[in-house]
């Protein structure tokens, strides 16, 4: 567990839920956690420098925007991971790609404008990598999306 004090935890809880959408967001954040605007900004900067914050930005609702996606699992031989990852990661429609501990070891998401586009992108990846064992697992229903990591701030 990184060395976080109570204020760090409160800042992380607030900005994971919503970073203020106003001209002086650090003043608003500071009001929420009991800091001046300058001190709130310094906290966020420190959390960035310590590597905890990946990015602060917009989280879009891809379904509302009319986009479709799928989760893909591939069985990639261990000695081909880097080469296959290079092909997969070069596709702009691939948003996440993780190596996992399983025979199906490479798992990535494709987001595109239509199911036909997703199918074409996947066919292209199969052809370029030569990987035959591919699971195409589009989401049928969403039960939860919550990227908020709990830090137990009081």
């Amino acid at each position: 567990m990184p060395d976080l004090d109570d204020i760090d935890r409160r800042v992380l809880d607030v900005i994971q839920a919503a970073f203020p959408l106003c001209r002086s967001p650090y003043a608003e954040l500071g009001r929420r956690v009991g800091l001046s605007a300058e001190a709130a900004m310094a906290r966020v900067q420190s959390l960035r420098e310590r590597g905890l914050i990946r990015r602060i930005g917009g989280v879009v609702n891809s379904r509302e925007l009319g986009l479709v996606g799928t989760l893909v699992g591939m069985k990639v031989p261990p000695d081909r991971i880097d080469a296959v990852a290079a092909v997969v990661n070069a596709v702009p429609n691939v948003t996440h790609n993780y190596l996992r501990e399983d025979d199906y070891d490479m798992w990535f998401t494709i987001t595109a404008a239509s199911r036909d586009d997703v199918t074409a992108i996947l066919a292209d990846i199969r052809e370029k990598t030569g990987i035959e064992d591919v699971l195409d697992l589009p989401s049928l229903r969403t039960f939860k999306i919550n990227v908020h990591l709990g830090f137990g701030a009081t």
Binding site: P2, F19, C22, I56, N61, P92, F143
Partner: protein, 158 residues
């Protein structure tokens, strides 16, 4: 795709895709890059939230650096007639960040997928056992995260 968005909405979404610039007034800088006033930029962004196109502006963390080292995707084999009930039960666990229904495939019987984040692998395994006790799946498969190969925001509006 996204043809129902105005050019202004598209520009604002696009400029919110990256990381907020440093400085006390980050939206002023984004508005300038987008060629609009900060008032128009913020009003458009709030409208996108109200319309549901933008979930929110928020911080995304690095799981491992934030102290979450037990990260796994778990695939659950739950019969079709119990998926809804099981999915809702899984969503109720704090350690579960995402839960989706996906189709079973030949030789791949899993119908529910959860992403879960815990301090350690042992903690993650304990959560998996608690979910299994609650949901009674026919089988399940725990796929621990070994390495992030790529992560970026959506290319929707590039």
């Amino acid at each position: 795709m996204t043809t129902h968005l105005t050019d202004t909405q598209r520009a604002v979404l696009s400029h919110l895709q990256g990381d907020l610039p440093a400085g006390p007034e980050p939206y002023d800088e984004l508005a300038e890059r987008a060629g609009m006033t900060v008032e128009a930029f913020l009003a458009t962004a709030r409208g996108l939230v109200e319309a549901g196109y933008l979930r929110r502006v928020s911080a995304l963390l690095h799981h491992v650096e934030a102290g979450f080292r037990g990260n796994a995707m778990v695939a659950w084999e739950v019969p079709a007639d119990r998926v809804a009930e099981a999915g809702r039960a899984m969503a109720g666990f704090d350690a579960v960040s995402h839960c989706y229904e996906r189709p079973a495939l030949p030789g791949w019987p899993y119908t529910l997928y959860t992403m879960l984040h815990a301090r350690t692998r042992e903690d993650a395994a304990a959560v998996v056992r608690r979910i299994a006790d609650a949901v009674r799946p026919a089988s399940y498969r725990v796929l621990y995260s070994l390495r992030e190969l790529k992560k970026r925001s959506l290319p929707v509006l590039d």
